[in-house]
Amino acid sequence: MELQAVLMAAGGGSRMTDLTYNTPKPMLPVGNKPLMWYPLNLLERVGFEEVIVITTKEVQKMMSTDPKMKQEVKMKLDVVCIQEDGDMGTADALRYIQQKIKTDVLVVSCDLISDVALHEVVDLFRAHNATLAMLMSKAHEFTETVPGQKGKKKTAEQRDFVGVDQSGKRLLFMANEADLEDGLSVRKSILRKHPRMHIKTGLVDAHLYCLKKAVVDFLTENKSISSIRGELVPLLVRKQFSKTLSKQKMKDDSEDQTQKKNDELLISSRDESLLQLAQERSCWNDHHGDMSEAYHGGKLRCYVHIMDQGLCYRVNTLAAYIEANRLVSQLLSLRCSCMSLFFSFTINIAMNVQLKCLCSIQGSVICSNAVIGRGADLKYCLVGSGQRIEPEGEKRQNKQAEIKLGSEISVLNFFSIQ
């Protein structure tokens, strides 16, 4: 077996508490499907037959009752439940399922909505025998504003600084603005090996990682690492250029220990000598202009695939959620998925929706069992399941989208209702 897929669906959705106080994040409806359907669909399309899903008991219950999950997901889902307390990070979760992992692993987050060609990421992982391969995307501006926020106020996003080499594939540097107190400092060893580095800040991390099995074993030894994105990935990126990897120094015990730790990551396949021989005899080098061999002799390599075009959203904020709803009908109409009704290209209506006369619906997503009252004019709204929109109701002039979830009939905002 080449790769095992792991879906991390235990996240809390801490940045969209308005929505997640009732429904857990993986089961939030996006375009009439639960959020975790999208990464599962991506994996299924590409050819995976089994996925290990790490989630909470609540989500597991909801999954088993949701018809969509049962019908449309044909893969075998191996659900692993963890505690709801929220202390477990993604790396802790990987450590938890270490026994199930027999080969290299592809970690996906449940909030990824994307139509990426996964082979691009996995090809980097395979061809260069990389330890880590990840997916990033150029960030798109969110066009619509978030209801409940006045004006286009940008939240203070913590930027990610990502350094890639000339070809745009090799990952040289990764740091979050929060960790850089004094400023961005780049090690000389990196610059000596890669004199031209492109540092990008406008990238969205898709939280899709291909990791070697040795990394999972490494995690079991180093119990202090708890988050893949926050700690493991920057550590691996730094380790590419770590001195102890390139030179064999066994001075004292402390050196010994770090050496051992590093060696674990470098657990190589059998017949490493043959691979070495092949590389020696091959007339290929990944860089030109200096005297070192391919990959500068480094065994640990991290690669990134940066998507220019195509859809890649992480639904972890309200704005992202709205945007995703809007675009998801585009995403789904590209494939032949069975949607119950389509009035126009950009709306999305589920089963059992009652539409009274004189309605005008545009750019909206309407979940199942909703009732749209007489004469309603919905533009870019998201109507939750079981909601009712009463006609001749309140007239609010705010230009915001409406979001209704749960069983209350509370209305946040209307665009225009007659």
Partner: protein, 556 residues
């Protein structure tokens, strides 16, 4: 044009004459063995049966030769014309194995259409029809008399040449390999069907192909085969997928590197292999390897060295006795592979280095082309033994492999000069000898190597500089080729685009209807330009390659 054909014909005569004598002698010697075997009641071995059949064929031919002396004139020209096209074609290939090296295969082949095509148009059609009818009649007769005709392609080539005497019109039953018939839609359909059966995606050709090379595949590096495979690849072993990717992206390039990487992948496959119930390892494993080889072929056409390595592995697998337990068999196979690499690649390189050091003198100026792992190895060894020489590295676009050779040589401390191939006639007066690497050595003594090698050899001959080709014997191929057109490899044409100062001139080359980009990979150097071939069996002239091949076949 006609003069050229006559020259070729003359050459064929000479080759046939020498070959014939040798063949006759062989037959006479072995006749005794066959008689002995028959009387002793033992079953004739495969080789003896082959020899018997060939003998009968020869006797038949002699008879027919006398019959057909009448219709010499027109047939001579026709035959020469057809042979000029037929000779460069590699002799009979089996359908199952797509490797360019010859495998003794049952050859119920039909006369290829190309045999009739090159016939001069002004020939009266009456002769053609006559010949066709005769050919068919003879074919029927032969088929009736000899069931299961098996012939070594080498012998068949020889017998093909023996048909050159104008009076002969033996049915030249040769099959063109599929990889050089890309412009034939039937062949493509067959290939598609075969790949579908093996569950391997078909890789589509890309871009406009120059008409002279439209019979070859041309793929784009941006459309890898993995696009159409499922991601945790189940049909193809992950080591083979990785290898295919590395081939198509050029990460593993060079004849030796590709063979070593291939054998490494095969080792993984063998390790992970589990014999299904009711199956024998010796047969099932070979069948398992077939789709992998097709996959690798789709990623990048196999090299001659890879073909020979595959042949060896398949032979070893089929030689596993059925009594062997699985673990034992697997470890035996792994050892065989390791032995092959050790002996044919590593030790061979060592032996070649030792013999070449005698040819390198102090104060020599050595010219090398591109990055040949063997030539580099020789230079490293010579430098370490204390010879004082300097190297001129000649490079060519688009691969610019010379940069890598330059880096390796300079890293060892050898003083180098670097030029592009356009300056080779400028730099040659300084050069004392030329060392070239080879991708394969063909059975007629031609050297197949990176495109540009024949140019270097030609200019060196013009300047009277000795050209030495270094090649291990496992790269010797039983194919015969006299030009670089018939069988070659077309690389991605987009590699020829270069961006300078932010501008790429050839960016929209596909939109210009009269423009075609050609990125050839190999070319063929005639043996007249090569002074010496250094192999681990010794230093031989180019024309002795068939002898080595024959010795190898006898050994096996």
């Amino acid at each position: 044009m006609i003069f050229f054909k006559e020259v070729i014909l003359g050459f064929r005569y000479w080759v046939i004459a020498s070959g014939w004598c040798f063949f006759r002698r062989n037959v006479n010697d072995r006749q005794d063995d066959i008689e002995r075997a028959k009387t002793e009641g033992k079953e004739l071995t495969k080789e003896e049966k082959q020899r018997l059949r060939k003998e009968k064929k020869q006797q038949k031919k002699n008879k027919e030769k006398k019959d057909e002396k009448a219709s010499q004139g027109s047939e001579k020209e026709k035959k020469s014309g057809s042979l000029a096209a037929a000779a460069p074609q590699p002799p009979a290939k089996s359908t199952t194995v797509k490797t360019p090296s010859a495998v003794p295969a049952p050859a119920p082949v039909s006369v290829p259409s190309s045999l009739e095509a090159p016939a001069p148009v002004d020939k009266p059609s009456k002769t053609k029809a006559e010949l066709k009818a005769e050919r068919r009649a003879r074919q029927e007769a032969e088929r009736a008399s000899k069931p299961g005709k098996k012939g070594e392609p080498g012998q068949q080539a020889a017998s093909g040449k023996q048909k050159a005497p104008p009076s002969e019109l033996q049915p030249v039953i040769k099959r063109l390999p599929e990889h050089i018939q890309v412009d034939n839609p039937d062949v493509l359909k067959k290939l598609a069907k075969k790949l579908e059966r093996q569950q391997i995606p078909l890789r589509l050709d890309y871009g406009y192909k120059v008409s002279l090379f439209s019979h070859l595949h041309q793929y784009s590096r941006k459309a890898p085969l993995t696009q159409q495979l499922s991601i945790p690849s189940t049909v193809i072993h992950p080591a083979v997928v990785r290898l295919g990717l590395q081939y198509s992206q050029g990460i593993v390039a060079g004849s030796n590197a590709r063979s070593v990487a291939l054998l490494h992948a095969f080792k993984q496959v063998i390790r992970d292999y589990i014999t299904p119930p009711n199956e024998e390892l010796s047969r099932d494993l070979v069948n398992k390897l077939k789709p992998y080889i097709s996959f690798l072929n789709q990623c990048r056409p196999l090299s001659a060295s890879m073909g020979n390595a595959i042949k060896y592995v398949k032979k070893e697998i089929s030689n596993i006795s059925s009594q062997c337990k699985e673990e034992e068999a697997k470890s035996k196979l792994l050892n065989c592979i390791e032995w092959y690499i050790k002996e044919k690649i590593i030790l061979a390189a060592k032996a070649i280095a030792e013999s070449s050091i005698e040819k390198i003198n102090n104060e020599d100026v050595i010219l090398v082309y591109g990055c040949s792992s063997l030539v580099n190895h020789i230079l490293f060894e010579a430098f370490e033994k204390g010879r004082k020489f300097r190297v001129i590295v000649v490079d060519s676009r688009p691969r610019l492999e010379g940069r890598e050779a330059l880096r390796r040589l300079v890293q060892r401390g050898i003083s180098c000069t670097y030029v592009l191939i356009s300056a080779v006639s400028y730099i040659l007066p300084e050069v004392s000898k030329v060392f070239l690497g080879a991708h394969a050595l063909l059975a007629n003594g031609y050297v197949m190597s990176r495109v540009g090698t024949s140019q270097i050899a030609l200019v060196a001959r013009a300047f009277n500089v000795p050209v030495l080709v270094c090649c291990e014997t496992y790269k010797f191929c039983e194919r015969v080729q006299t030009d670089s057109f018939v069988s070659n490899e077309l690389d991605d044409p987009d590699d020829l685009m270069v961006t300078r100062n932010g501008k790429t001139q050839l960016e929209s080359w596909q939109e210009v209807p009269s423009l075609g980009l050609l990125n050839l990979v190999y070319d063929v150097t005639p043996p007249d330009f090569v002074d010496l071939v250094i192999t681990e069996l010794g230093m031989i002239p180019c024309t002795s390659v068939p002898v080595v091949l024959r010795v190898k076949n006898v050994d096996q």
